[in-house]
């Protein structure tokens, strides 16, 4: 990926197109799980840019997801039928693509609005402000009747398919990795390691944080759009604080700033509750217990294998 990023991108997109032809042969339950895994990869990898690479602890990812979900659902439900009556085939796909972009764009704009004032804060304080933002979005959506209020939006067309989820998951991974594996992008890591030193090296730390926030919010918005068009109904409860925590856990468990680990953690943590379904009411207890055990035994991240190389002492 680092060496031939464009080849990787084109190859991966071709694979996405290929696998999407397999979708009709899959059991609908498995397909649903796979799509959820893909959406969670988009969410976790994009949040990793802010929480992992840039070191800014954000707890508001579900808020951006909600904005994207509502914006894109509102577009396909209310605007699209008026603009493209009798749409079918390719046109519906294009409508869906536009809806997703709209959702991502509005979420990114929200990223600027939230980011610009709050990124002067650090650590715990930033976490609290982003948490507050997520809750504000949820409460606002509850009280806007034209967006369904507490009932949410229903009857959203099932546009999300394996192709779109794969494409967006691959794009998210590409965008984040291509960014941090550049001289410009090393600045994100510098901000994380030592903000004062980064400033002294001429890095505009606020600008870097806002870029990270906006890119991350954009993909959270996309993920929201995919989620809405997968579940067919969305309500404010689905984007509460717990949703943000779930994504943060994926990032921490995968190992901060370790995209490969975060992808694996997103897969694992989406599959785990499904695998535990047979034990019914103990499911979430076991899930939580496993999280605690994992954090105690591998605090550096489940999939973080890079050890510190021993320093070579000069005589």
């Amino acid at each position: 990926m680092q060496h031939r990023p464009k080849t990787f991108l084109i190859g991966a997109l071709a694979c996405a197109l290929g696998t999407s032809f397999l979708a009709p042969y899959l059991n609908p339950y498995y397909l649903d799980v796979i799509l959820t895994v893909g959406i969670n990869i988009v969410l976790a990898v994009s949040l990793n840019l802010v929480n992992g690479y840039t070191g800014q602890f954000s707890l508001g990812h579900a808020g951006f997801m909600a904005i994207g979900a509502y914006a894109s659902a509102a577009f396909t439900l209310f605007a699209a039928p008026a603009i493209f009556p009798n749409a079918n085939g390719w046109v519906t796909q294009a409508v869906f693509f536009l809806a997703l972009l709209l959702g991502g764009g509005i979420a990114a704009a929200a990223g600027i609005v939230v980011g610009a004032p709050s990124l002067r804060l650090k650590g715990d304080y930033l976490a609290i402000v982003t948490l507050g933002f997520g809750e504000i979005i949820r409460v606002l959506l509850r009280n806007v009747d034209s967006l369904g209020g507490a009932l949410g939006l229903n009857g959203i067309p099932f546009y999300t398919n394996l192709f779109w989820v794969a494409v967006w998951a691959i794009l998210t991974i590409y965008v984040v990795l291509a960014l941090v594996h550049s001289t410009f992008g090393r600045g994100f890591l510098a901000v994380r390691d030592d903000e004062v030193a980064a400033e002294a090296m001429g890095i505009n730390t606020t600008r870097y944080k806002i870029i990270a926030f906006v890119v991350s919010a954009f993909f959270a918005g996309i993920a929201g759009g995919l989620y809405g068009h997968l579940k067919s109904s969305i309500d404010p409860k689905g984007f509460d604080f717990m949703r943000s925590i779930e994504i943060v856990v994926m990032v921490i468990l995968g190992g901060m700033a370790n995209t490969r680990g975060v992808i694996l953690a997103a897969i694992l943590l989406t599959l785990l509750p499904e695998v535990l379904r047979p034990v019914a009411e103990y499911r979430m207890v076991i899930y939580s217990l496993l999280l605690i055990i994992l954090m105690l035994t591998r605090p550096q991240g489940l999939f973080s294998f890079r050890s510190n190389r021993p320093s070579v002492r000069t005589p």
């Binding site: 990023p5 464009k6 590409y174 965008v175 291509a178 960014l179 550049s182 001289t183 410009f184 992008g185 090393r186 600045g187 890591l189 510098a190 994380r192 390691d193 030592d194 004062v196 030193a197 980064a198 400033e199 002294a200 090296m201 001429g202 890095i203 505009n204 730390t205 870029i211 510190n308 190389r309 021993p310 320093s311 070579v312 002492r313 000069t314």
Partner: protein
């Protein structure tokens, strides 16, 4: 005479009722090695923080190469050509030695976010140029064998050196060193003195050295300013300073 690179003009800074630095006039010429000394709490580090933009002067102004820099952010001051090191080393610990220096090239990059995504010819070209220049710098300072180590795993002396290399990568015209000899033994101090002299000559830059260690300051500085209670009590060549009665009373001791 307008050959002053850095000019502090009647700078005063107060923290509440405390006047940390009072009415300070201080200049540094191009390609000059100047020392700033004084007892603990004399305001040396405050002066340092004023120049680098961490604090802003309550009164007075600071000029660098004819531009006022007294109201700028630290990163803007770096882009004007003032680079610094820190008293307690502040490298990017979890980045490699190579990346620590690479980050500092950021100021002179043409490519930004969109180039990193598009990855065209110009981007590849620039990444290669940066990489070559980083290696060149590492070679000059004998750090090329450590390029893939985490900065936090370097021995202390190498960390100090890497911090200077990183500062030089921003292509400064003036380098500010904050107590670089802190925690060094006699041999390391000698190496440090050679290093500072070498940096000044090789890169043709001015150096401001804030330092406690008399051996180092007297050994390499062309000019020394002495602070006491935020007031400049003396300025001159090392010999003048050594025999100045005020300095002896306040700092050097009988």
């Amino acid at each position: 005479m307008n050959c002053h690179l850095l000019k502090l003009d009647a700078c005063t800074i107060r923290f509440g009722g405390l006047t940390a630095v009072s009415n300070l006039d201080f200049q540094i010429k191009a390609n000059e090695l100047v020392g700033l000394i004084g007892p603990n709490g004399a305001g040396k580090t405050t002066v340092f923080n004023l120049i680098t933009g961490v604090y802003q002067p309550t009164e007075g102004r600071i000029e660098f190469d004819g531009h006022s820099i007294s109201r700028l952010e630290p990163y803007q001051i770096t882009s004007h050509g003032i680079a610094r090191t820190f008293q307690n080393i502040r490298l990017f610990p979890s980045l490699s030695v190579f990346d620590n220096v690479r980050v500092a090239f950021h100021l002179h990059l043409l490519s930004g976010v969109s180039h990193a995504w598009w990855r065209g010819k110009a981007f590849a070209q620039e990444e290669k140029e940066v990489s070559d220049q980083v290696m060149e710098l590492l070679r000059i300072f004998q750090l090329e064998n450590h390029r893939d180590l985490f900065a936090k795993n370097l021995p202390y002396g190498d960390q100090r050196r890497l911090e200077i290399v990183r500062a030089l990568a921003t292509r400064p015209r003036m380098l500010l060193l904050d107590e670089p000899a802190a925690g060094m033994n006699a041999t390391e101090k000698l190496q440090l003195m050679n290093l500072i002299q070498f940096v000044k000559d090789k890169f043709q830059i001015s150096v401001l050295l804030v330092e406690h260690d008399m051996q180092v300051v007297m050994g390499i500085c062309q000019r020394i300013a002495v602070l006491d209670y935020g007031i400049k009590i003396a300025e001159g060549s090392p010999d003048q300073i050594r025999s100045d009665p005020k300095v002896i009373e306040a700092y050097l001791g009988e």
